[in-house]
Protein backbone atom coordinates (compact mmCIF):
# COMPACT_ATOMS: atom_id res chain seq x y z
CA UNK A 1 0.00 0.00 0.00
CA UNK A 2 3.00 2.30 0.49
CA UNK A 3 4.56 2.56 -2.91
CA UNK A 4 7.05 5.44 -2.84
CA UNK A 5 5.22 7.33 -5.58
CA UNK A 6 1.98 7.80 -3.66
CA UNK A 7 1.24 10.42 -1.04
CA UNK A 8 -2.27 9.38 -0.05
CA UNK A 9 -3.84 5.92 -0.32
CA UNK A 10 -7.38 5.19 0.82
CA UNK A 11 -9.28 1.87 0.74
CA UNK A 12 -12.98 1.54 1.51
CA UNK A 13 -12.87 4.52 3.82
CA UNK A 14 -16.13 4.93 5.67
CA UNK A 15 -17.55 7.35 8.23
CA UNK A 16 -20.92 7.05 9.89
CA UNK A 17 -22.54 9.51 12.25
CA UNK A 18 -25.24 7.37 13.84
CA UNK A 19 -27.41 6.11 10.96
CA UNK A 20 -26.11 8.67 8.54
CA UNK A 21 -23.34 7.49 6.24
CA UNK A 22 -21.26 10.59 5.52
CA UNK A 23 -18.57 8.79 3.54
CA UNK A 24 -19.43 5.44 1.96
CA UNK A 25 -16.52 3.09 1.17
CA UNK A 26 -14.37 5.51 -0.75
CA UNK A 27 -11.09 4.36 -2.35
CA UNK A 28 -8.48 6.39 -4.22
CA UNK A 29 -4.79 7.16 -4.51
CA UNK A 30 -2.98 10.45 -4.87
CA UNK A 31 0.48 10.51 -6.43
CA UNK A 32 3.34 12.51 -5.05
CA UNK A 33 3.45 16.07 -6.45
CA UNK A 34 -0.06 15.80 -7.81
CA UNK A 35 -2.80 18.40 -7.46
CA UNK A 36 -5.80 16.28 -6.57
CA UNK A 37 -9.18 17.97 -6.66
CA UNK A 38 -11.99 16.68 -4.53
CA UNK A 39 -15.30 17.93 -5.88
CA UNK A 40 -18.85 17.69 -4.73
CA UNK A 41 -21.86 19.66 -3.59
CA UNK A 42 -22.13 20.88 -0.01
CA UNK A 43 -22.63 18.04 2.42
CA UNK A 44 -21.28 15.40 0.02
CA UNK A 45 -18.59 14.28 2.46
CA UNK A 46 -15.58 16.26 1.25
CA UNK A 47 -14.65 17.80 4.58
CA UNK A 48 -15.36 14.58 6.46
CA UNK A 49 -12.92 12.72 4.19
CA UNK A 50 -10.24 15.37 4.64
CA UNK A 51 -10.68 15.34 8.40
CA UNK A 52 -10.19 11.60 8.50
CA UNK A 53 -7.02 11.94 6.46
CA UNK A 54 -5.71 14.66 8.77
CA UNK A 55 -6.27 12.57 11.87
CA UNK A 56 -8.95 14.69 13.52
CA UNK A 57 -11.78 12.24 12.81
CA UNK A 58 -11.52 8.52 13.38
CA UNK A 59 -12.85 6.53 10.38
CA UNK A 60 -15.67 4.05 11.04
CA UNK A 61 -14.19 1.60 8.57
CA UNK A 62 -11.59 1.09 5.86
CA UNK A 63 -7.92 1.93 5.86
CA UNK A 64 -5.51 4.45 4.48
CA UNK A 65 -2.12 6.09 4.67
CA UNK A 66 -0.96 9.67 4.37
CA UNK A 67 2.72 10.29 3.62
CA UNK A 68 3.21 6.57 4.28
CA UNK A 69 1.68 6.76 7.78
CA UNK A 70 -1.41 4.79 8.79
CA UNK A 71 -4.41 7.07 9.40
CA UNK A 72 -5.79 4.73 12.05
CA UNK A 73 -2.76 4.51 14.29
CA UNK A 74 -0.26 7.26 13.53
CA UNK A 75 -2.38 10.41 13.45
CA UNK A 76 0.04 12.46 15.51
CA UNK A 77 2.95 11.70 13.16
CA UNK A 78 0.73 12.52 10.20
CA UNK A 79 0.00 15.91 11.75
CA UNK A 80 3.71 16.76 11.68
CA UNK A 81 3.86 15.83 7.98
CA UNK A 82 0.89 17.66 6.56
CA UNK A 83 -0.34 21.18 6.20
CA UNK A 84 -4.05 21.83 6.63
CA UNK A 85 -6.05 24.88 5.79
CA UNK A 86 -9.80 25.01 6.17
CA UNK A 87 -12.53 27.18 4.75
CA UNK A 88 -12.61 29.17 7.93
CA UNK A 89 -9.53 31.34 8.24
CA UNK A 90 -7.62 29.79 11.04
CA UNK A 91 -5.75 32.89 12.08
CA UNK A 92 -5.99 34.83 15.30
CA UNK A 93 -7.53 38.09 14.25
CA UNK A 94 -6.36 40.05 17.27
CA UNK A 95 -2.75 39.03 16.68
CA UNK A 96 -0.48 40.72 14.17
CA UNK A 97 0.75 38.97 11.04
CA UNK A 98 4.14 38.38 12.65
CA UNK A 99 2.63 37.04 15.89
CA UNK A 100 0.50 34.58 13.96
CA UNK A 101 3.54 33.29 12.11
CA UNK A 102 5.56 33.05 15.32
CA UNK A 103 2.75 31.19 17.03
CA UNK A 104 2.49 28.56 14.32
CA UNK A 105 6.25 28.17 14.03
CA UNK A 106 6.16 27.48 17.75
CA UNK A 107 3.57 24.75 17.60
CA UNK A 108 5.10 23.16 14.50
CA UNK A 109 8.44 23.18 16.34
CA UNK A 110 10.39 24.93 13.61
CA UNK A 111 14.03 24.89 14.75
CA UNK A 112 15.22 28.30 15.94
CA UNK A 113 17.81 28.69 13.18
CA UNK A 114 15.18 28.19 10.47
CA UNK A 115 12.47 30.37 11.96
CA UNK A 116 13.60 33.64 10.46
CA UNK A 117 14.02 32.18 6.97
CA UNK A 118 10.58 30.58 7.06
CA UNK A 119 9.01 33.79 8.28
CA UNK A 120 10.64 35.70 5.42
CA UNK A 121 9.40 33.09 3.00
CA UNK A 122 5.79 33.33 4.16
CA UNK A 123 5.83 37.12 4.08
CA UNK A 124 7.33 37.08 0.61
CA UNK A 125 4.86 34.49 -0.63
CA UNK A 126 1.82 36.23 0.79
CA UNK A 127 3.09 39.70 -0.13
CA UNK A 128 2.70 40.85 3.44
CA UNK A 129 6.11 42.42 4.11
CA UNK A 130 4.67 45.88 4.75
CA UNK A 131 1.94 44.49 6.96
CA UNK A 132 4.14 42.64 9.40
CA UNK A 133 2.74 44.52 12.37
CA UNK A 134 -0.86 44.88 11.19
CA UNK A 135 -3.53 43.05 13.06
CA UNK A 136 -4.68 40.12 11.03
CA UNK A 137 -8.32 41.11 11.44
CA UNK A 138 -7.75 44.25 9.40
CA UNK A 139 -6.39 42.41 6.33
CA UNK A 140 -8.49 41.69 3.23
CA UNK A 141 -9.75 38.18 2.45
CA UNK A 142 -7.06 37.40 -0.13
CA UNK A 143 -4.25 38.32 2.21
CA UNK A 144 -5.72 36.40 5.11
CA UNK A 145 -6.05 33.39 2.90
CA UNK A 146 -2.45 33.49 1.74
CA UNK A 147 -1.25 34.04 5.29
CA UNK A 148 -3.35 31.06 6.39
CA UNK A 149 -1.74 28.92 3.77
CA UNK A 150 1.68 30.23 4.74
CA UNK A 151 1.12 29.36 8.39
CA UNK A 152 -0.16 25.90 7.46
CA UNK A 153 3.00 25.05 5.50
CA UNK A 154 5.63 26.72 7.69
CA UNK A 155 7.03 23.31 8.50
CA UNK A 156 7.38 22.40 4.80
CA UNK A 157 5.09 19.38 4.82
CA UNK A 158 5.19 16.98 1.86
CA UNK A 159 1.38 16.83 1.69
CA UNK A 160 -1.07 19.67 2.09
CA UNK A 161 -4.83 19.52 2.49
CA UNK A 162 -6.89 22.53 1.51
CA UNK A 163 -10.56 22.43 2.42
CA UNK A 164 -12.39 24.93 0.19
CA UNK A 165 -9.51 27.36 0.52
CA UNK A 166 -10.94 29.93 -1.87
CA UNK A 167 -14.51 30.24 -0.70
CA UNK A 168 -15.50 33.82 -0.18
CA UNK A 169 -12.45 35.33 -1.89
CA UNK A 170 -12.47 37.59 -4.95
CA UNK A 171 -11.51 36.13 -8.38
CA UNK A 172 -8.13 37.86 -8.58
CA UNK A 173 -7.10 36.57 -5.18
CA UNK A 174 -8.29 33.11 -6.19
CA UNK A 175 -6.10 33.30 -9.25
CA UNK A 176 -3.09 34.34 -7.18
CA UNK A 177 -3.83 31.55 -4.77
CA UNK A 178 -3.80 28.95 -7.51
CA UNK A 179 -0.50 30.31 -8.75
CA UNK A 180 0.85 29.53 -5.29
CA UNK A 181 -0.56 26.04 -5.40
CA UNK A 182 1.15 25.39 -8.75
CA UNK A 183 4.41 26.68 -7.36
CA UNK A 184 4.17 24.28 -4.43
CA UNK A 185 3.24 21.33 -6.64
CA UNK A 186 6.20 22.20 -8.85
CA UNK A 187 8.44 21.64 -5.83
CA UNK A 188 7.05 18.14 -5.36
CA UNK A 189 4.42 18.96 -2.73
CA UNK A 190 1.23 16.93 -2.99
CA UNK A 191 -1.85 19.15 -2.90
CA UNK A 192 -5.21 17.71 -1.95
CA UNK A 193 -7.86 20.36 -2.48
CA UNK A 194 -11.62 20.41 -2.15
CA UNK A 195 -13.73 22.95 -3.95
CA UNK A 196 -17.13 23.54 -5.36
CA UNK A 197 -15.92 26.09 -7.90
CA UNK A 198 -16.03 24.20 -11.17
CA UNK A 199 -13.47 26.39 -12.89
CA UNK A 200 -10.97 25.52 -10.17
CA UNK A 201 -11.44 21.85 -10.92
CA UNK A 202 -9.89 22.49 -14.33
CA UNK A 203 -6.64 23.50 -12.64
CA UNK A 204 -6.24 20.11 -11.00
CA UNK A 205 -4.17 17.24 -12.38
CA UNK A 206 -6.85 14.79 -11.41
CA UNK A 207 -10.26 15.14 -9.86
CA UNK A 208 -12.62 12.93 -7.92
CA UNK A 209 -16.35 13.59 -7.73
CA UNK A 210 -18.04 12.77 -4.48
CA UNK A 211 -21.81 12.80 -4.14
CA UNK A 212 -23.85 11.70 -1.15
CA UNK A 213 -20.79 10.12 0.39
CA UNK A 214 -19.95 8.05 -2.69
CA UNK A 215 -17.16 8.48 -5.18
CA UNK A 216 -18.93 8.66 -8.58
CA UNK A 217 -16.10 9.53 -10.95
CA UNK A 218 -12.34 10.02 -10.94
CA UNK A 219 -9.73 11.00 -13.54
CA UNK A 220 -8.03 13.89 -15.31
CA UNK A 221 -10.52 16.69 -16.04
CA UNK A 222 -10.04 16.46 -19.81
CA UNK A 223 -10.40 12.65 -19.85
CA UNK A 224 -13.55 12.77 -17.77
CA UNK A 225 -15.08 15.29 -20.14
CA UNK A 226 -14.39 13.30 -23.30
CA UNK A 227 -15.43 10.07 -21.66
CA UNK A 228 -18.68 11.12 -20.07
CA UNK A 229 -19.89 13.91 -22.32
CA UNK A 230 -19.48 12.46 -25.82
CA UNK A 231 -22.96 13.47 -26.98
CA UNK A 232 -22.97 17.26 -26.53
CA UNK A 233 -19.32 17.89 -27.29
CA UNK A 234 -19.36 21.61 -28.12
CA UNK A 235 -17.08 23.28 -25.54
CA UNK A 236 -18.17 21.17 -22.60
CA UNK A 237 -17.69 22.85 -19.25
CA UNK A 238 -16.83 21.28 -15.96
CA UNK A 239 -20.24 22.25 -14.76
CA UNK A 240 -21.95 20.22 -17.51
CA UNK A 241 -19.84 17.24 -16.60
CA UNK A 242 -20.66 17.58 -12.97
CA UNK A 243 -24.41 17.89 -13.52
CA UNK A 244 -24.58 15.00 -15.98
CA UNK A 245 -22.60 12.71 -13.69
CA UNK A 246 -24.89 13.44 -10.79
CA UNK A 247 -27.97 12.94 -12.93
CA UNK A 248 -26.61 9.64 -14.16
CA UNK A 249 -25.98 8.57 -10.58
CA UNK A 250 -29.51 9.53 -9.54
CA UNK A 251 -30.94 7.64 -12.53
CA UNK A 252 -29.11 4.51 -11.44
CA UNK A 253 -30.40 4.84 -7.92
CA UNK A 254 -34.00 5.64 -8.80
CA UNK A 255 -35.27 2.35 -10.32
CA UNK A 256 -34.85 0.65 -6.98
CA UNK A 257 -36.93 3.33 -5.28
CA UNK A 258 -39.69 2.83 -7.84
CA UNK A 259 -39.69 -0.88 -7.31
CA UNK A 260 -40.24 -0.29 -3.63
CA UNK A 261 -43.29 1.81 -4.41
Amino acid sequence: MNSPGTAVVVRDLEKRFGDFVAVNRVSFEVKRGEIFGFLGPNGAGKSTTIRMLCGILIPSGGAGTVAGLDILTRQEEIKANIGYMSQKFSLYEDLTVEENIDFYSGIYRIPAEKKQARKEWVLQMAGLKEHLHSRTGTLSGGWKQRLSLGCAILHEPPVIFLDEPTSGVDPISRRQFWDLIYELAGKGVTVFVTTHYMDEAEYCDRIALIYRGELIAMGAPADLKTEKLREDSIAPSMEDLFVSLIEAHDRDARPQEEVRR
Binding site: C54, G55, I56, L57, I58, E76, E77, K79, A80, I82, Y84, M85, S86, K88, F89, S90, L91, Y92, E93, D94, L95, E99, D102, F103, Y104, G106, I107, Y108, R109, A152
Partner: protein
Protein backbone atom coordinates in the same frame (compact mmCIF):
# COMPACT_ATOMS: atom_id res chain seq x y z
CA UNK B 1 1.02 29.01 23.00
CA UNK B 2 1.95 30.77 26.21
CA UNK B 3 3.06 33.96 24.54
CA UNK B 4 -0.02 33.96 22.37
CA UNK B 5 -2.44 33.79 25.29
CA UNK B 6 -0.72 36.72 26.94
CA UNK B 7 -0.96 38.72 23.76
CA UNK B 8 -4.66 37.87 23.51
CA UNK B 9 -5.28 39.22 26.95
CA UNK B 10 -3.15 42.30 26.81
CA UNK B 11 -4.16 43.35 23.33
CA UNK B 12 -7.67 43.93 24.53
CA UNK B 13 -7.75 46.96 26.81
CA UNK B 14 -11.13 45.92 28.19
CA UNK B 15 -9.66 42.59 29.19
CA UNK B 16 -6.82 44.30 31.01
CA UNK B 17 -9.32 46.34 32.99
CA UNK B 18 -11.30 43.25 33.87
CA UNK B 19 -8.26 41.44 35.11
CA UNK B 20 -6.56 44.08 37.22
CA UNK B 21 -8.91 46.94 37.88
CA UNK B 22 -12.00 44.95 38.73
CA UNK B 23 -10.38 42.98 41.56
CA UNK B 24 -9.08 46.21 43.07
CA UNK B 25 -12.46 47.94 42.90
CA UNK B 26 -14.39 44.90 44.03
CA UNK B 27 -12.14 44.18 46.96
CA UNK B 28 -12.49 47.82 48.02
CA UNK B 29 -16.26 47.70 47.81
CA UNK B 30 -16.54 44.30 49.43
CA UNK B 31 -14.10 45.31 52.12
CA UNK B 32 -16.48 48.06 53.15
CA UNK B 33 -19.77 46.47 52.30
CA UNK B 34 -19.40 42.85 53.28
CA UNK B 35 -19.76 43.19 56.99
CA UNK B 36 -22.22 41.75 59.40
CA UNK B 37 -21.27 44.13 62.18
CA UNK B 38 -24.37 45.99 63.25
CA UNK B 39 -23.63 49.62 64.02
CA UNK B 40 -25.62 52.83 64.02
CA UNK B 41 -29.01 51.19 64.18
CA UNK B 42 -31.69 53.77 63.41
CA UNK B 43 -33.60 53.95 66.65
CA UNK B 44 -36.77 55.71 67.67
CA UNK B 45 -37.52 56.58 71.29
CA UNK B 46 -41.09 56.29 72.53
CA UNK B 47 -40.76 57.70 76.03
CA UNK B 48 -44.00 58.01 77.95
CA UNK B 49 -42.18 58.46 81.22
CA UNK B 50 -39.75 61.17 80.20
CA UNK B 51 -37.91 60.88 83.47
CA UNK B 52 -34.30 61.18 84.50
CA UNK B 53 -33.93 57.39 84.53
CA UNK B 54 -35.39 56.88 81.08
CA UNK B 55 -33.23 59.64 79.60
CA UNK B 56 -30.16 58.18 81.27
CA UNK B 57 -30.85 54.77 79.78
CA UNK B 58 -31.39 56.23 76.27
CA UNK B 59 -28.09 58.08 76.63
CA UNK B 60 -26.39 54.79 77.39
CA UNK B 61 -27.81 53.26 74.23
CA UNK B 62 -26.48 56.15 72.19
CA UNK B 63 -23.06 56.10 73.87
CA UNK B 64 -22.62 52.45 73.00
CA UNK B 65 -22.23 53.47 69.33
CA UNK B 66 -24.65 50.84 68.18
CA UNK B 67 -27.76 53.00 68.31
CA UNK B 68 -28.55 56.33 66.69
CA UNK B 69 -31.69 58.08 67.83
CA UNK B 70 -33.43 59.21 64.67
CA UNK B 71 -36.86 60.06 66.02
CA UNK B 72 -38.86 60.66 69.16
CA UNK B 73 -42.43 59.53 68.89
CA UNK B 74 -45.53 60.21 70.91
CA UNK B 75 -47.97 57.45 70.05
CA UNK B 76 -48.31 53.84 68.89
CA UNK B 77 -49.36 54.85 65.38
CA UNK B 78 -46.09 56.61 64.74
CA UNK B 79 -44.14 53.56 65.90
CA UNK B 80 -45.90 51.45 63.31
CA UNK B 81 -45.24 53.92 60.53
CA UNK B 82 -41.53 54.17 61.35
CA UNK B 83 -41.02 50.41 61.44
CA UNK B 84 -43.13 49.82 58.31
CA UNK B 85 -41.20 52.32 56.28
CA UNK B 86 -37.91 51.06 57.61
CA UNK B 87 -36.95 54.51 58.93
CA UNK B 88 -36.27 52.98 62.30
CA UNK B 89 -35.13 49.45 62.95
CA UNK B 90 -35.48 49.55 66.70
CA UNK B 91 -37.83 51.38 69.05
CA UNK B 92 -37.15 51.89 72.75
CA UNK B 93 -40.40 52.18 74.62
CA UNK B 94 -40.70 53.40 78.20
CA UNK B 95 -44.09 53.22 79.83
CA UNK B 96 -45.29 55.80 82.27
CA UNK B 97 -43.91 55.13 85.74
CA UNK B 98 -40.62 53.69 84.59
CA UNK B 99 -38.63 55.72 87.05
CA UNK B 100 -41.20 55.34 89.82
CA UNK B 101 -41.11 51.57 89.60
CA UNK B 102 -37.37 51.64 89.68
CA UNK B 103 -37.13 53.91 92.69
CA UNK B 104 -39.69 51.78 94.45
CA UNK B 105 -37.36 48.88 94.08
CA UNK B 106 -39.55 47.00 91.62
CA UNK B 107 -38.62 45.87 88.16
CA UNK B 108 -39.03 48.64 85.65
CA UNK B 109 -39.85 47.62 82.10
CA UNK B 110 -38.18 48.77 78.93
CA UNK B 111 -39.65 47.43 75.74
CA UNK B 112 -37.45 47.09 72.63
CA UNK B 113 -39.36 46.73 69.38
CA UNK B 114 -37.27 45.40 66.52
CA UNK B 115 -37.64 45.13 62.79
CA UNK B 116 -37.24 41.37 62.64
CA UNK B 117 -37.30 41.08 58.84
CA UNK B 118 -33.53 40.83 58.89
CA UNK B 119 -33.40 38.21 61.58
CA UNK B 120 -29.65 38.20 61.82
CA UNK B 121 -29.25 41.89 62.54
CA UNK B 122 -32.29 41.89 64.81
CA UNK B 123 -30.71 39.16 66.91
CA UNK B 124 -27.53 41.12 67.26
CA UNK B 125 -29.40 44.33 68.17
CA UNK B 126 -31.36 42.41 70.76
CA UNK B 127 -28.17 41.18 72.33
CA UNK B 128 -26.71 44.68 72.48
CA UNK B 129 -29.89 46.00 74.10
CA UNK B 130 -29.87 43.27 76.70
CA UNK B 131 -26.28 44.00 77.54
CA UNK B 132 -26.84 47.73 77.89
CA UNK B 133 -29.95 47.21 80.01
CA UNK B 134 -28.16 44.75 82.27
CA UNK B 135 -25.26 47.09 82.80
CA UNK B 136 -27.67 49.89 83.56
CA UNK B 137 -29.48 47.94 86.19
CA UNK B 138 -26.20 46.85 87.73
CA UNK B 139 -24.95 50.41 88.13
CA UNK B 140 -28.32 51.45 89.51
CA UNK B 141 -28.12 48.62 91.98
CA UNK B 142 -24.63 49.55 93.08
CA UNK B 143 -25.51 53.22 93.45
CA UNK B 144 -28.58 52.40 95.47
CA UNK B 145 -26.80 50.00 97.79
CA UNK B 146 -24.08 52.53 98.29
CA UNK B 147 -26.63 55.16 99.18
CA UNK B 148 -28.47 52.86 101.58
CA UNK B 149 -25.60 51.27 103.42
CA UNK B 150 -22.77 53.74 103.11
CA UNK B 151 -19.73 51.53 102.91
CA UNK B 152 -21.74 48.48 101.95
CA UNK B 153 -19.97 46.52 99.27
CA UNK B 154 -22.22 44.73 96.86
CA UNK B 155 -21.90 40.99 96.79
CA UNK B 156 -19.46 39.74 94.20
CA UNK B 157 -21.17 38.55 91.03
CA UNK B 158 -19.75 36.59 88.19
CA UNK B 159 -18.04 38.80 85.70
CA UNK B 160 -17.95 37.23 82.26
CA UNK B 161 -14.66 38.06 80.57
CA UNK B 162 -15.01 36.92 77.02
CA UNK B 163 -12.01 37.35 74.76
CA UNK B 164 -12.19 36.57 71.09
CA UNK B 165 -8.95 35.09 69.95
CA UNK B 166 -7.51 35.81 66.50
CA UNK B 167 -9.91 38.69 65.87
CA UNK B 168 -9.96 40.61 69.12
CA UNK B 169 -12.46 43.28 68.15
CA UNK B 170 -14.71 40.80 66.37
CA UNK B 171 -14.32 42.85 63.22
CA UNK B 172 -16.23 41.00 60.56
CA UNK B 173 -14.07 42.72 57.95
CA UNK B 174 -11.08 40.70 59.12
CA UNK B 175 -13.11 37.58 58.50
CA UNK B 176 -14.54 38.53 55.11
CA UNK B 177 -11.75 40.32 53.30
CA UNK B 178 -9.51 37.24 53.04
CA UNK B 179 -12.56 35.41 51.71
CA UNK B 180 -13.05 38.10 49.10
CA UNK B 181 -9.57 37.28 47.79
CA UNK B 182 -10.63 33.69 47.32
CA UNK B 183 -13.91 34.37 45.54
CA UNK B 184 -12.57 37.10 43.26
CA UNK B 185 -9.63 35.01 42.14
CA UNK B 186 -11.95 32.10 41.53
CA UNK B 187 -14.24 34.22 39.38
CA UNK B 188 -11.43 35.66 37.28
CA UNK B 189 -9.57 32.44 36.64
CA UNK B 190 -12.76 30.49 35.97
CA UNK B 191 -13.97 33.03 33.46
CA UNK B 192 -10.66 33.38 31.65
CA UNK B 193 -10.03 29.68 31.25
CA UNK B 194 -13.58 28.69 30.42
CA UNK B 195 -13.54 31.28 27.64
CA UNK B 196 -10.08 30.38 26.42
CA UNK B 197 -10.80 27.10 24.68
CA UNK B 198 -14.35 27.92 23.63
CA UNK B 199 -13.23 31.08 21.90
CA UNK B 200 -10.96 28.99 19.69
CA UNK B 201 -13.84 26.68 18.91
CA UNK B 202 -16.08 29.57 17.99
CA UNK B 203 -13.57 31.37 15.81
CA UNK B 204 -12.59 28.10 14.12
CA UNK B 205 -8.95 28.10 15.09
CA UNK B 206 -9.48 25.00 17.22
CA UNK B 207 -9.66 22.81 14.14
CA UNK B 208 -6.36 24.24 12.96
CA UNK B 209 -4.75 23.57 16.33
CA UNK B 210 -6.00 19.99 16.21
CA UNK B 211 -4.19 19.25 12.94
CA UNK B 212 -0.88 20.42 14.34
CA UNK B 213 1.41 18.06 16.24
CA UNK B 214 0.77 19.92 19.53
CA UNK B 215 0.27 17.56 22.47
CA UNK B 216 -2.72 17.89 24.82
CA UNK B 217 -0.30 18.64 27.65
CA UNK B 218 1.24 21.57 25.80
CA UNK B 219 -2.19 22.85 24.89
CA UNK B 220 -3.46 22.68 28.45
CA UNK B 221 -0.30 24.31 29.75
CA UNK B 222 -0.66 27.10 27.21
CA UNK B 223 -4.23 27.61 28.30
CA UNK B 224 -3.58 27.57 32.05
CA UNK B 225 -0.16 29.02 32.89
CA UNK B 226 -0.94 32.56 31.74
CA UNK B 227 -4.14 32.57 33.76
CA UNK B 228 -2.40 31.05 36.76
CA UNK B 229 0.08 33.90 36.63
CA UNK B 230 -2.71 36.44 36.40
CA UNK B 231 -4.44 34.76 39.32
CA UNK B 232 -1.26 35.10 41.34
CA UNK B 233 -0.85 38.76 40.53
CA UNK B 234 -4.47 39.33 41.55
CA UNK B 235 -3.95 37.53 44.85
CA UNK B 236 -0.93 39.68 45.58
CA UNK B 237 -2.76 42.89 44.67
CA UNK B 238 -5.83 42.08 46.76
CA UNK B 239 -3.71 40.88 49.67
CA UNK B 240 -1.85 44.17 49.58
CA UNK B 241 -5.14 46.06 49.64
CA UNK B 242 -6.39 43.94 52.51
CA UNK B 243 -3.27 44.45 54.58
CA UNK B 244 -2.37 48.05 53.85
CA UNK B 245 -5.77 49.58 53.25
CA UNK B 246 -8.12 47.61 55.44
CA UNK B 247 -5.43 46.75 57.97
CA UNK B 248 -6.47 43.14 58.09
CA UNK B 249 -3.71 41.48 60.09
CA UNK B 250 -1.66 38.89 58.28
CA UNK B 251 -0.07 36.66 60.85
CA UNK B 252 0.87 33.57 58.90
CA UNK B 253 3.52 32.76 56.37
CA UNK B 254 3.16 34.49 53.02
CA UNK B 255 4.99 31.66 51.27
CA UNK B 256 2.46 29.22 52.59
CA UNK B 257 -0.29 31.49 51.31
CA UNK B 258 1.30 31.39 47.86
CA UNK B 259 1.63 27.63 47.96
CA UNK B 260 -2.03 27.33 48.88
CA UNK B 261 -2.92 29.79 46.14
CA UNK B 262 -1.05 27.68 43.60
CA UNK B 263 -2.98 24.57 44.62
CA UNK B 264 -6.26 26.46 44.67
CA UNK B 265 -5.61 27.91 41.22
CA UNK B 266 -5.04 24.39 39.91
CA UNK B 267 -8.59 23.51 40.89
CA UNK B 268 -10.22 26.66 39.50
CA UNK B 269 -8.24 26.45 36.26
CA UNK B 270 -9.04 22.76 35.96
CA UNK B 271 -12.74 23.42 36.41
CA UNK B 272 -12.60 26.35 34.00
CA UNK B 273 -10.92 24.22 31.36
CA UNK B 274 -13.34 21.40 31.91
CA UNK B 275 -16.26 23.78 31.36
CA UNK B 276 -14.49 25.01 28.28
CA UNK B 277 -14.17 21.55 26.78
CA UNK B 278 -17.82 20.67 27.30
CA UNK B 279 -19.15 23.98 25.98
CA UNK B 280 -19.60 24.82 22.32
CA UNK B 281 -20.19 28.55 22.62
CA UNK B 282 -19.00 31.32 24.90
CA UNK B 283 -22.55 31.78 26.21
CA UNK B 284 -22.70 28.14 27.28
CA UNK B 285 -19.34 28.50 28.97
CA UNK B 286 -20.54 31.61 30.76
CA UNK B 287 -23.71 29.91 31.97
CA UNK B 288 -21.84 26.85 33.17
CA UNK B 289 -19.35 29.03 34.99
CA UNK B 290 -22.12 30.71 36.94
CA UNK B 291 -23.89 27.45 37.49
CA UNK B 292 -20.77 26.32 39.30
CA UNK B 293 -19.79 29.63 40.85
CA UNK B 294 -22.97 30.50 42.76
CA UNK B 295 -23.27 27.27 44.76
CA UNK B 296 -19.51 27.27 45.23
CA UNK B 297 -19.80 30.57 47.10
CA UNK B 298 -22.95 29.75 49.01
CA UNK B 299 -21.63 26.37 50.13
CA UNK B 300 -18.14 27.49 50.98
CA UNK B 301 -18.63 29.02 54.40
CA UNK B 302 -17.88 32.43 52.95
CA UNK B 303 -21.15 33.79 54.29
CA UNK B 304 -23.08 30.97 55.91
CA UNK B 305 -21.17 28.81 58.36
CA UNK B 306 -20.92 25.25 57.08
CA UNK B 307 -21.48 23.92 60.58
CA UNK B 308 -25.03 25.30 60.47
CA UNK B 309 -25.97 23.44 57.29
CA UNK B 310 -27.90 20.17 57.18
CA UNK B 311 -25.56 17.21 57.22
CA UNK B 312 -26.24 16.11 53.64
CA UNK B 313 -25.32 19.55 52.38
CA UNK B 314 -22.25 19.58 54.58
CA UNK B 315 -21.07 16.52 52.71
CA UNK B 316 -21.57 18.38 49.46
CA UNK B 317 -19.26 21.14 50.62
CA UNK B 318 -16.38 18.69 50.74
CA UNK B 319 -16.41 18.84 46.93
CA UNK B 320 -15.96 22.57 46.95
CA UNK B 321 -12.38 23.80 46.54
CA UNK B 322 -13.39 27.21 47.85
CA UNK B 323 -14.30 25.64 51.19
CA UNK B 324 -10.74 24.44 51.71
CA UNK B 325 -9.08 27.57 50.47
CA UNK B 326 -11.22 29.74 52.75
CA UNK B 327 -10.09 27.75 55.75
CA UNK B 328 -6.49 28.06 54.64
CA UNK B 329 -6.57 31.74 53.79
CA UNK B 330 -8.43 32.72 56.97
CA UNK B 331 -6.14 30.52 58.99
CA UNK B 332 -3.07 32.18 57.55
CA UNK B 333 -4.39 35.72 57.83
CA UNK B 334 -6.02 35.63 61.24
CA UNK B 335 -4.67 32.67 63.15
CA UNK B 336 -1.20 32.56 61.72
CA UNK B 337 -1.35 28.80 61.64
CA UNK B 338 1.04 26.83 59.54
CA UNK B 339 1.27 23.76 57.42
CA UNK B 340 1.12 21.44 60.44
CA UNK B 341 -2.53 22.43 60.92
CA UNK B 342 -3.55 23.19 57.37
CA UNK B 343 -2.12 20.16 55.59
CA UNK B 344 -5.45 18.33 55.21
CA UNK B 345 -6.92 21.30 53.34
CA UNK B 346 -3.81 21.72 51.21
CA UNK B 347 -3.84 18.04 50.40
CA UNK B 348 -7.52 18.20 49.44
CA UNK B 349 -6.83 21.14 47.13
CA UNK B 350 -3.88 19.36 45.54
CA UNK B 351 -5.90 16.22 44.88
CA UNK B 352 -8.82 18.17 43.46
CA UNK B 353 -6.52 20.26 41.32
CA UNK B 354 -4.84 17.25 39.80
CA UNK B 355 -8.16 15.49 39.21
CA UNK B 356 -9.83 18.44 37.51
CA UNK B 357 -6.82 19.19 35.33
CA UNK B 358 -6.60 15.55 34.35
CA UNK B 359 -10.31 15.45 33.57
CA UNK B 360 -9.92 18.53 31.40
CA UNK B 361 -6.92 17.05 29.58
CA UNK B 362 -8.85 13.81 29.06
CA UNK B 363 -11.83 15.66 27.62
CA UNK B 364 -9.54 17.61 25.35
CA UNK B 365 -8.09 14.44 23.90
CA UNK B 366 -11.55 13.09 23.14
CA UNK B 367 -12.57 16.12 21.16
CA UNK B 368 -9.65 15.37 18.85
CA UNK B 369 -11.02 11.93 18.10
Amino acid sequence: MLVKEFIHIFRDPKMKAVIFLVPVIQSMIFGYAVTTDVKHVATAVFDLDNSQASRELVARFVRSGYFDVVARVQNEGQVRVLLDRGRARAVLRFNQGFEREMLAGRTARLQVLLDGADSNSAGIVLEYSARIAAEFSRTVLIERSARLAGAFRPPGGVDLQARAWFNENLESRNFYVPGVIAILVMLITLMLTSMAVVREKEVGTMEQILVTPITPGEFIAGKTLPFALIGFVDVIVITAIAVFWFEVPIRGNLLLLFLATALYLMTTLGIGLFISTISQTQQQAMMSTFFFYMPAILLSGFIFPIANMPESIQWLTYLNPLRYFLIVIRGIFLKGIGISVLWPQLLALAVMGLLTLRAAAGRFHKTMA
